[in-house]
């Protein structure tokens, strides 16, 4: 059992990347740099990522919040805070 929501989100992110962009080195991502630029995610990849996270965590990121998830750290924090809201 995961000890913290942050771990759960981290695991979900890793699994989601494996599905939508298997060629990306997840551990090599700089969490504070622009995510899409770094790993060359296009809009289709981004939507696939959000669908995977929706399925895994039940958190739906609205389009109006895309600014907040421009970095991996931003995405992680966003998901953690919304997970906590739900529980």
């Amino acid at each position: 059992v995961n000890s913290s929501p942050r771990d759960a989100v981290q695991a979900a992110l890793r699994a989601a990347f494996r599905r939508i962009a298997p060629e990306v080195d997840f551990d090599g991502i700089d969490a504070r740099q622009d995510l899409r630029e770094q790993v060359d995610l296009d809009s289709v990849d981004l939507l696939n990522l959000l669908v995977a996270l929706e399925e895994e965590l039940g958190v739906e990121v609205p389009e109006t919040d895309y600014e907040e998830i421009s970095t991996l750290e931003g995405l992680l924090q966003y998901l953690v805070s919304h997970l906590e809201e739900e529980t």
Binding site: R18, I20, P22, E23, L47, V51, E55, V61
Partner: protein
């Protein structure tokens, strides 16, 4: 009647491909459209489909075989057409005329190992070759008991090579996750280990420290002895090079561009998507694809093939979507019948296609069927892209990134989001005037997204 299933041609310039894996075994009944195997081409691994309902009789090209286009891979026969021997055991249907025995088919069928259906299924689960098991049933048929006994006593010969029962994608994912794919329980066809099986196995063990440690070690080893895939990249590069060289050598391109305000379309999308969860959202590319396809219906000279000096218009509109791979190279698999599909449906198709292109699991019909190509270098990319036509197609439509510009309308200037649409077309098949009208019509249609 037996028929042969040949190696399909998966694009201009392809002369042969290597069988990686069969998802079917003799005795399986397949339906039209079923994916039956995986072959390795210079465009990557591609799943091949069958185009008739049939029973698989015999695999002529086992995995690892290089087969020229047009040479037989499998023999098939119509489903339900039992060989003469088996037919005798069946009760003839009342009142129906009995067909003449399929003499042609039965000769080959005799070679097939006789086995009860349960035995056959069990053997497939265990990846055993039935021909290595002694049958004790009627007529020497292998029974379930025979299979179990052979396994228990270890007398079964030639178990299928373990490396043949893990799909390539599953193998790659397993490597990434530090999972031994041979130890994963397969749920795919004939017990094949699929990517999902590997992921589940990894997730099941995710929290086990031992597994995590093994995974880390495997990763370190892999990094130390990093084995790139130069062949795969080189092959894809060659395929792109050959197609583009041919295109620029043979096709007299002409190029047109127009800048289209997309404020109304994007606002409509934003409103539509605001209340939808991610899985139900519509992508802007779906709007473009649909608008392009609807207008193409009135411009048959842009949708089809130029072959041997004549233009042959295509009946349907299958749009190849150019997808650049992060690992290098490019594929342009087709989305079928774009003009007849809803925006939701098109978005789902695009998402699925992009994900599968990245994972290297496209299907034969997708890599061969495109009648026209649409290229977009991404929403963060360049403003304008002029594509190079993929022969023997005659047009490629480019969709640039969204750019906010000052836009004059009715004597007033305001900020509007715009997109530059381009058309590269074959001047042998169409002329610039019609090409221009085409782009203008697409631009106009994008102003009323609710009609798409």
């Amino acid at each position: 009647m037996t028929t042969e299933y040949p190696m399909p041609s998966l694009g201009a310039g392809m002369s042969q491909a290597t069988v990686i894996e069969w998802y079917v075994t003799p005795g399986d009944v397949v339906r039209r459209g079923d994916v039956i195997g995986l072959v390795d081409t210079d465009k990557g691994a591609i799943e091949i489909e069958v185009w008739e309902d049939a029973e698989v009789l015999e695999v002529l090209a086992p995995p690892g075989t290089k087969v020229p286009v047009g040479e037989p891979l499998l023999t098939l026969r119509p489903p339900g057409e039992a060989p003469a021997g088996d037919r005798d055991e069946d009760l003839p249907a009342e009142g129906l005329p009995t067909e003449a025995p399929a003499v042609d088919g039965s000769a080959r069928v005799e070679e097939r190992v006789r086995a009860s259906p349960v035995a056959r299924r069990r053997a497939a689960e265990l990846h055993l070759d039935l021909s290595g098991i002694l049958g004790t049933g009627p007529g020497g048929a292998v029974t379930l008991g025979d299979v179990e006994e052979a396994v228990a006593e270890g007398t079964v010969a030639r178990p299928l090579e373990p490396h043949l029962r893990v799909t390539p994608v599953a193998r790659r994912v397993a490597e990434d996750l530090g999972v031994d794919p041979e130890k994963v329980r397969g749920t795919g066809p004939a017990g094949a280990v699929t990517r999902r099986d590997v992921e589940l196995a990894a997730e099941g063990d995710w929290r086990s420290p031992r597994r995590a440690e093994e995974g880390r070690r495997a990763e370190e080893e892999r990094e130390a002895g990093e084995q790139p895939e130069p062949d795969r990249h080189a092959a894809m590069r060659r395929a792109v090079a050959a197609a583009m060289e041919r295109s620029k050598r043979e096709i007299p391109h002409y190029y047109l561009a127009t800048t289209v305000p997309v404020e109304a379309a994007l606002q409509w999308l934003e409103r539509t998507n605001a209340t939808r969860p991610p899985r139900e959202r519509i992508l802007p590319i779906a709007l473009h694809l649909k608008a392009i396809a609807l207008v193409l219906k009135g411009y048959p000279e842009l949708n089809g093939f130029w072959e041997e000096g004549v233009f042959r218009p295509a009946e349907d509109i299958h749009a190849g979507l150019a997808i650049s791979l992060r690992t290098g190279g490019l594929v342009a698999p087709a989305i079928h019948d774009v003009d007849r599909r809803s925006l939701d449906d098109l978005t789902t198709a695009v998402r699925d296609l992009v994900q599968r292109a990245r994972a290297g699991s496209l299907r034969a019909s997708e890599v061969t069927d495109a009648t026209v190509t649409v290229t977009s270098l991404g929403d963060r990319g360049v403003e304008t892209v002029f594509g190079v036509i993929y022969p023997p197609q005659v047009a490629i439509i480019g969709v640039g990134s969204v750019v906010e510009r000052p836009w004059a309308h009715s004597g007033m200037v305001g900020a509007r989001r715009t997109v530059t649409l381009t058309l590269s077309a074959d001047h042998r098949a169409s002329d610039g005037h019609r090409g221009g009208l085409f782009l203008e019509e697409v631009a106009a249609l994008l102003q009323t997204p609710e009609d798409l």
